[in-house]
Amino acid sequence: MALAETIKTKANNALGVNPQDAKISKSYFTVTFLALLIGGTLGLVQGLNRAGLFELPSWLNYYQVLTAHGLLLILVFTAFFTIGYFYAGLSHTLGGLIPKVRKMVWIGFWMKIFGFVLAVIPILMNEASVMYTFYPPMAASPLFYFGLVFIVLGVWMAAFGAFVQVANWRKNHKGQHLPILSFFATGVFVLLFFSSIPVAIEVFMIIPWVLGWMETINVMLSRTLFWAFGHTLVNIWYLTAISVWYVIVPKVIGGRRFSDTLTRVVVILLVILNIPGGFHHQIIDPGISETIKYMHVFMSLAVGFPSLMTAYAMFSVFERTGRAKGAKGLFGFFKKLPWGDVRFLAPFIAMVAFIPAGAGGIVQTTNQLDQVVHNSLWIVGHFHLTLGMTVALTFFGVSYWLIPRISGRILTKKMNKMGVITTILWTIGMSFMAIAMHLVGLLGSPRRTSYTTYGDNATALGWDPYLIFLAIGGTFLIVAVIMQVYSAFHLMFRAPKGEEEFPIAEEEEDASKTPFWTERWSRTILIMLIVVAMAYVIPIVDFIGDPGSPPWKTW
């Protein structure tokens, strides 16, 4: 198989980049980095406000800014990057996209843009300051929910396109394993599709209610449906990031991949276990028994297992590569890593950030620990580590080779250096912010709250010294954002012409054969659905018939 893969890689590299496929990914990345620029700027505005340094003008309220920041960075930045990246991967590893698939992903692109515009209009008009979680019974303008419908449909188009592409390849390559990057893509799109079903149901409950056709809405049911989606979404971005760690990073450092079987098992486990993980957002909710919550501790903790395997895999690859290059001693391999190469440095820092981020995740899934930090700034610190460091830095690392690759350009030494500096600034800024948020959250400072001293309350005043670091971190971050956005567009339009490598690592030479059951997606999906049913049937049946709430506009 290693030989077959070598031939395939060579063939793919020789085929070059299909210009039509490249245009798809370039369009997605354009949106990605524009979202980063706007979302990042709004982030700075919040950091400065929360530190008590900056008062927002009367026509712009904090919660409007926060809604837009969340939507742009947790949904748009990530979704557009993920789709652009995996479509480039599907095109590269499966011999180009088939025309039907191209059409589907373009339709999906415009549906998402249309939906996003619909959702942004009411946010700008302060008619939808409901945060990206939009918990009923807060009711935004109907336009906001129509926008969400189109965003979901657009994501589905991209997912279906990927399924058609993969099915077509499998039909023509009977008995072969799906190339590893496309295997990751399949896992990601399966999760994207299935996890967005609950939120689609929620939005279809909300629309007749905001239009006044239904008098009340079931608050706990909608909240539960939301988190079945909301948390999975974050883990989808994380699964996208680890595809880079398993497949791309080993090649960048001149090594080979970790065990193909275990890599595929990690993907399968993450697909099966992820959706119930969302329940830990509801650990201190009323209306759910302690027993159900306890069962969910197990379901959420189980997600930690593939992550711990990943940690092992990464360090194993680093060590082997280092030794192959002549490293000695226990940690000698560290010196053999290409620290000056942004394609390695950015995802490496992302991995390191996942150590505290993963530990924080375990804290939140454990009932009593969660109660200490729930809805405090600790949580915000946590997802600035997971999304802001682990996911974002990995995505940035990819941008330095994938954007030039699909643009027929190269990553110059100068741009690589720029990338290294951006990575360092980003790391400093995000660390300041995330550490301060974790600490002040433990003291009780709440998330999603504009600057307040609660009438000069002594406890609240004690938080101020920590909150200053949100402004300091935010300032580093905005510099990094501007540099990163500049680099992305420079590499797309200005960098010298040439051919940049699509770095896909090969398997170990002595690798044992991967069992074929890993290819049975129907079985993986079936097990996933059973696990989801185990997690959700009882609480959801419990909520049905609970007294509903009328809509409220409280901003």
Partner: protein, 153 residues
Amino acid sequence: MHKHEKIWLILSTAMIVGFFLFAGYQTFALQMGPPSHQETIDPQKVDETEPFDNPGVFQTGENEYEVVMTLQIFSFTPSEIEIPAGSEVTFTMTSKDVTHGFQIAGTNVNAMVMPGYVQKITQTFNEPGEYLILCNEYCGSGHQLMATTITVK
């Protein structure tokens, strides 16, 4: 599979199972489970429904109190509560409008309070002082003002 890999997998499993068992021990043996009261209420008739038709602080035993509380944009009723040191206080709460959060800074009191549901959480206050109660779930334009205090004497 390599030896190190096996060791790592065993350690990972042990850690996950350890957290799981410890959370279970705390929940079921030590009664430290998260607030999970299961009782519904019509959110549009809170003012007419017992006990919320008469919110306030009630002594329920020696050193035991119940605070019947409604949360609404952007306040807590009753507010500025006072209780003697050493008392065990059970907060019985519901929301009259949107989702709120009930948190007492410096303690582990933290519960979601949602319209349509009654939520309960109990805490013993040994240390005298003024504690900050705040809403920790975004509930609208005045969310940052939604706070009060509980004074332990």
